[in-house]
């Protein structure tokens, strides 16, 4: 509508994203922006390329490619030949024999721009030992002529095409003279800035002759192979500069495609090599095996045969980190060509993915989106630890997504997206922790406030309405002599209703509110305090009070709690007198109170027919004494002494009693431990004729004993 409306909407969206914290939003968006800017500057290029290599290296295995066979000249072959380069004569023999097996296309990945002088020809026949050097040269040239004729013939006649290589970038190396351009492909490859080969150059202008647009060895080979299937090379439909076989467009990698930043492409069509993932992706035949017929005919028939040097001494290696190898960074040149050709023909014939990249819009959308996903963790309404676990597990999602897409043929920025997710997610976590602490603080402030309000309301009720009400009750009841003395006043009545009864009702209700507030106040206030203990949730004991008063509170509380039982005891003699508590810690006090409570519970649970209960808590001489003495008979003794077991029920009950005694024994163990800590003694003994005395005695001064 207008500017403010739009702004409000944006603020709303951002507010939702950041869970209401603009700081969080700004920080996280800043982080995402920095990640994006860094990527535009090419800072992530190295790590993105390494991630690509890593992902490619850890793909699921593929089957070996049965369309390509490498005829390799190994170090052993060179040693057998006892010469290098491979003599033209040998090459001719090799090619002729190959053609007899009718492969679909032969690629000669060896430079042959001039004759190879064959020094061995002199030594082969001793009769010709005196042949002059000129003659040797002439023979060699003849052999070379024979070789080139063979190559030409392959192009013109109805035999297998042989494609040879040239070099067009930098210092050119030409193919053997007289061969048609259709059978020549350049072998130049583009090195990435980090020195690794990942791209295959498909077409290029030659350095020496910029008007001359040349095709690469890879594309020539693929073109010839696919021509036999009736599939021709054309220009891309989506991208007119790209190449296309049938429906398959060879995705053009430009200087800034995917993770690349300003890579040299020579402004030419390049393809990201989707290496075939297998330990030995291509069938190999060595020269000597071939000569000795140690190969299967089907390895050659109707296949692409790539002839290349694999002898270590010839140093035809390239660096690649994406293939499985004992030394993954070293790949033979001929194998690299095989991978590139294999990728194209398999993409066209089998639909194997060509590696594509997203447009920059999508790439940055993905990075920003990951950042927002990380930020959205703020909406996870779980505990901080759960959020942390979810976050840690979910950090792998961007990487898994990127890996999955690579399998489908898309190279997308994995690390930048992961980074923006990770940083934002950690930001959210830190924010949650910080927020939690802030919340705790403000909760404390609010809590204190609440306590103040509670306290002042409590005092207001106590000093105001309660007092007024009491004096009102007093006035009314003093004017009229009460009919009964028992607290039931019925003298004053309005229309038959007793005013005093109503006033008492109000008093009771008000008092309930008042007591509720007091409980709330005490509970909240004391819960954080070490010097308080809870007897029951509603009964708090302040440990700072004199010890005998604390003990009395426990006693009183127990009597209230188990009113029915203790009402039944006729004589309850209690003696709570001040004790020396100079040497008893708060912790020991609390433990002692628990012990005392337990002792009273034991009376209730284990003693029958008690008519007299004596409780003593006082200082006797140099000792503090807590004694609980009853005159009841022990329930478990009755059970155990009740003669023969007459039924299963009785046995079971007896077993239960024994259990109880054992449990009680545990209580004694605890009491003994307490006595030891107080450097005193605990005893439980039976009295004559009936009863039990439970006693804890400890010296007033620890050193006194």
């Amino acid at each position: 509508m207008n500017r403010t409306g739009w702004k409000r909407q944006l603020t709303g969206v951002l507010g939702f994203l950041g869970g209401g914290s603009s700081t969080l939003i700004l920080t996280s968006m800043g982080v995402v922006l920095m990640v994006c800017v860094a990527r535009l500057m090419g800072l992530w290029e190295g790590i993105e390329l390494q991630t690509l290599d890593l992902f490619l290296r850890y793909r699921p295995l593929e089957a070996p490619d049965e369309r390509i066979t490498i005829l390799e000249i190994t170090e052993n072959d060179l040693q057998d030949l006892d010469t290098y380069p491979v003599p033209d004569k040998t090459m001719v023999e090799l090619l002729e024999k190959l053609e007899s097996y009718e492969p679909r296309v032969i690629g000669l990945d060896i430079f042959r721009d001039f004759p190879v002088i064959d020094p061995l020809q002199t030594g082969v026949n001793s009769l010709e030992a005196d042949i002059a050097l000129d003659d040797i040269v002439e023979r060699s040239q003849n052999a070379y002529r024979e070789f080139t004729e063979l190559l030409k013939k392959s192009a013109d006649q109805d035999v297998t095409d042989i494609v040879v290589i040239e070099k067009i970038l930098g210092t050119p190396i030409s193919a053997p003279a007289g061969i048609s351009d259709d059978n020549i492909g350049f072998a130049d490859a583009l090195l990435d800035k980090d020195g690794f080969f990942r791209r295959s150059l498909l077409a290029s202008r030659s350095t020496a002759d910029p008007g001359n647009h040349r095709l690469s060895f890879t594309i020539q080979m693929a073109k010839k192979y696919l021509a036999a299937e009736g599939i021709d090379l054309g220009n891309g439909l989506k991208d007119p500069i790209a190449m296309r076989f049938g429906q398959t467009e060879l995705f053009r990698i430009t200087a800034n495609s995917g993770g690349y930043h300003d890579q040299d492409t020579g402004n030419n069509a390049t393809l990201l090599v989707n290496f075939r993932h297998h330990q030995s992706p291509f069938q190999r035949i060595s020269l000597s095996e071939f000569r000795a017929n140690e190969f299967s005919e089907e390895w050659v028939r109707d296949r692409i045969i790539l002839i290349g040097m694999t002898a270590e001494s010839t140093k035809d290696y390239v660096n690649s980190a994406a293939v499985i190898h004992t030394n993954p960074s070293l790949v033979q040149g001929v194998e690299f060509q095989a991978h590139a050709i294999s990728q194209i023909i398999n993409a066209v014939l089998e639909g194997r993915p060509i590696i594509k990249t997203w447009s920059h819009y999508w790439e940055y959308f993905w990075i920003v989106g990951s950042g927002i996903a990380g930020l959205s963790l703020i909406h996870l309404k779980r505990s901080i630890s759960t959020t942390a676990v979810v976050f840690i597990i979910s950090t792998s999602i961007p990487l898994i997504f990127a890996y999955g897409l690579l399998l489908a043929g898309f190279w997308i920025p994995a690390i930048p997206a992961w980074l923006s997710y990770f940083i934002n997610g950690s930001g959210v976590l830190l924010y949650r922790i910080y927020d939690y602490e802030k919340y705790e603080q403000s909760r404390k402030i609010r809590f204190d406030e609440r306590q103040r309000v509670l306290e002042s309301s409590y005092n207001a009720i106590h000093n105001g309405p309660l007092q007024t009400l009491k004096s009102l009750i007093r006035k009314v009841s003093s004017q009229q002599q009460p009919v009964k003395n028992n607290g039931v006043y019925s003298a004053v009545s309005i229309n038959g209703c007793s005013v005093i009864a109503d006033l008492h009702q109000i008093d009771k209700e008000l008092r309930n509110i008042y007591e509720f507030m007091q409980r709330e106040y005490l509970q909240r206030e004391y819960s954080a305090d070490q010097s308080q203990i809870y007897l029951t949730p509603n009964h708090v004991i302040e440990l700072n009070a004199p010890f005998h008063e604390l003990l009395y509170q426990v006693y009183h509380n127990k009597l209230q709690e188990s009113e029915d039982y203790f009402q039944g005891i006729k004589v309850k003699i209690s003696d709570f007198c001040p004790m020396n508590e100079d040497y008893i810690s708060i912790a020991h006090k609390e433990e002692t109170l628990r012990f005392f409570e337990e002792a009273l519970c034991n009376v209730e649970q284990h003693a029958l027919d008690v008519t007299r209960l004596e409780v003593t808590c006082k200082q006797e001489g140099k000792q503090n004494v807590i004694r609980v003495s009853d005159n009841g008979s022990r329930t478990e003794m009755i059970a155990l002494a009740s003669g023969r077991a007459e039924s299963v029920d009785v046995l079971a009950e007896r077993a239960a009693r024994v259990q109880e005694i054992i449990r009680q024994g545990d209580g004694s163990k605890q009491a003994k431990r307490l006595a030891k800590r107080l450097r005193g003694q605990f005893s439980r003994r039976t009295k004559f004729p009936n009863g039990t005395v439970c006693e804890l005695i400890w010296p007033v001064k620890p050193t006194a004993m």
Binding site: S477, P482, A545, Q553
Partner: protein
């Protein structure tokens, strides 16, 4: 200190009361009622715990009447804790004085029951809602060295061994107070205090036309304290 205990025949003598309450209205109301009942009475008042401590040092009142909800100093909020601490302190320091606790919240006193039990003077509790007449009655009981606590506090018939001993010596041996005191090696006054405590526990109070000691014995039998 002895003279406080010569409180019988109060009508002729001049009584003195010390009133501690932070409520001016209560203070005035109570003071007025006391003066009505005891025309010659001297009434001193204090509004805070601090003031009360200060004044009681120089006073020897017949009865100290305290509220439980008190501020420590003027201007501070009233807290039951403050009143309870003050009462505990007074009961321990002035163990022969007679006390009446006037409060809207007598249940809070349970906490210092052992101290109340150990007190040797008269002691009575009165709820602020009870009629003035009852309050006056409690004050005069306390002045007589008697003990009154509300039924909620004596629900369980909790007695101390000394009180039991007094009861047993009187009932089984037929001893009078003097003989009991000699037997127990305490002052006769203490024996009378024990009787007062015992009577309170059993809920036996002064009634026209009834003999207190006989009533006490009957109730003790009823409750099963003695056979």
């Amino acid at each position: 200190m002895e003279n406080i205990l010569q409180s019988r025949g109060q009508q002729q003598q001049k009584q003195s009361f010390f009133l501690v309450d932070d409520h001016a209205a209560v203070l005035n109301g109570t003071a007025m009622s006391l003066k009505q009942e005891f025309p010659n009475a001297d009434v001193v008042t204090a509004k805070t715990a601090q003031e009360a401590r200060q004044k009681l040092k120089t006073l020897q009142p017949n009865v100290v009447i305290v509220d439980l909800s008190l501020p420590e100093k003027a201007g501070e909020t009233c807290r039951t804790e403050t009143g309870i601490s003050l009462l505990r302190e007074f009961l321990e320091t002035y163990s022969d004085y007679n006390f009446v606790v006037q409060s809207a919240n007598v249940a809070a006193l349970v906490r210092i029951k052992p101290t109340i039990d150990a007190h040797r003077g008269g002691f009575a509790l009165v709820d602020k809602g009870e009629p003035i007449a009852d309050m006056i009655k409690r004050v005069s009981w306390a002045m007589d060295g008697l003990v009154y606590t509300p039924p909620t506090m004596r629900k369980h018939l909790e007695i101390k061994s000394e009180w039991m001993q007094v009861l047993e010596l009187a009932v089984y041996e037929g001893l009078n107070d003097k003989a009991i005191a000699k037997h127990m090696n305490v002052a006769e006054r203490t024996v009378r205090n024990y009787w007062a405590k015992l009577q309170d526990v059993l809920g036996v109070y002064h009634e026209e036309g009834k003999i207190l000691r006989i009533q006490t014995e009957l109730r003790a039998r009823e409750e099963g304290l003695i056979d």
